[in-house]
Symmetry: C2
Subunit: 271 residues, 2 copies
């Protein structure tokens, strides 16, 4: 990257969840243009296998690099957990995932040395957070819990009340009473359930938003070395989806704070 | 089809839910061989658009017809709701969906003339049940309700207790008090929640399993005209999936009564 590189950042997610990461990127890097791709024709990734998710991630990355992005943000925890090595090996641009930044922030925050990780079945099964936490700080105890119902609850807008509270209690009760003081929200949908999670985990529990941590990591790339921000005042955002955009636009406000104005449908491959 | 046509039936679904239909087909047609395809790499269909679901249905149908099936059962309500005309127009074999049989059974059962339909957002939005009920019997009142959380609840095994009961009450309460006496379970996952649904809807409510109705319709095709059963004693079953088979096999018992012994992964298309 050269000085005042006006090329956009590329961001992809399995669907709408990565908009929470986009929101953090906007706040951290207010001069950067962004192209966002939501793979809504194949959502969700979290219940699918590593091989299938890697294939989808490569299709998404190929689309975004064809639009000349200067850096790729993998805003989906499941894709970050399983596809990052494959993407880094084949793309000629920096690739930032959400796992390492979230793990590093949690490792820095914990005082008890006991960290919880909540994620999709694919993310937890991959062991990526467990490895990243171990690399960030030795001697940590990691309590990992797959929470498969949190994504549909967040997508459908069940963010408070008895149902999300009972589901959260069911997933989280086994983690309590073991000295845990920090919990990574290892899925971009989970910040929408922050209120319920804080209630069930207790008000003193530190909650780490992996998407917010990733946005900090992207900002660090731009501050380091030769990278530099695009010229201010020329910032643009474009949104692409792989299914019809109606529902993506409809639920975008819940994740982004305000609705996406428009999104264009693209076919990444037959099927 | 000619007499003693030993070619198998083809059955496809977005994933594991169609195994409830397979179970009914086994019971109704104990001599027929069956090839089942679960599109687990792209599950679920119920929250995706009609155009994307139709494309996936065509890929599934092309795979099964390449294996020389004599009849195609579309075991997925969402695919039946949106893709049946396209499949019937292009395939040279009988195509049986789950919507018309379920609607016809409900129309025959209701005494009050008020029928409820529960389905995925895609099925309800399509209006297919509403049209099929109107065609089956004029003057029916149809109360249609999308229940998007039922699929993840059934997939994750939350089949009883407070969470499914509260979710069911939230979806179904608006339908009560309007004279409804019959409800179509318009998604192959919903029979797993039958206990909770019966409790919330009342013990007198007639529940129609659309998959069971479809199995009856397939049996009728074989009894009519030139169709005939395969020779007995030579029955086989084969299972294909589009993602790795582990989870499909793991949860199959919940839908089928006993586990699928093995399933082979196939790539239907790039992506």
């Amino acid at each position: 990257m050269h000085s005042f590189d006006r090329r956009p950042l590329g961001v992809f997610d399995s669907g709408v969840g990565g908009l929470t990461v986009l929101r953090s990127l906007r706040a951290r890097l207010p001069s950067e243009s962004i192209i966002y791709l939501g793979d809504t024709a194949r959502v969700p990734y979290g219940t699918k296998s590593a091989s299938v998710v890697t294939r989808y991630a490569q299709l998404n990355a190929a689309f975004l690099t064809s639009l000349d992005v200067k850096l790729l943000v993998v805003a989906c925890n499941t894709a970050s957990a399983v596809a990052l090595p494959a993407l880094r090996a084949t793309l000629g641009i920096p690739v930032v995932g959400v796992i390492e930044p979230g793990a590093q922030e949690a490792a820095a925050l914990t005082r008890s040395g006991v960290v919880g990780v909540l994620g999709t079945p694919g993310t937890i099964r991959s062991g990526a957070y467990q490895r990243a936490l171990g690399a960030a700080r030795s001697g940590l105890t990691v309590l990992a819990q797959a929470c498969p119902l949190f994504v549909p609850l967040a997508e459908e807008g069940w963010l408070g009340g008895d149902v999300p509270r009972l589901v959260a209690r069911s997933y989280l009760s086994p983690l309590l009473g073991q000295g845990m003081d920090t919990v990574v929200l290892g899925c971009t949908h989970y910040p929408l359930l922050r209120g319920v999670l804080q209630e069930v985990l207790g008000q003193k529990m530190a909650l780490v938003d992996s998407g917010e941590a990733a946005a900090q990591a992207v900002a660090a790339v731009f501050q380091a070395g030769t990278a530099s921000e695009a010229g201010p005042g020329t910032r643009t955002e474009r949104f692409y989806v792989t299914d019809v955009p109606d529902r993506f636009i409809e639920v975008s406000a819940r994740f982004l704070g305000s609705s996406v104005p428009a999104a264009e449908q693209v076919d990444l491959a037959v099927g």
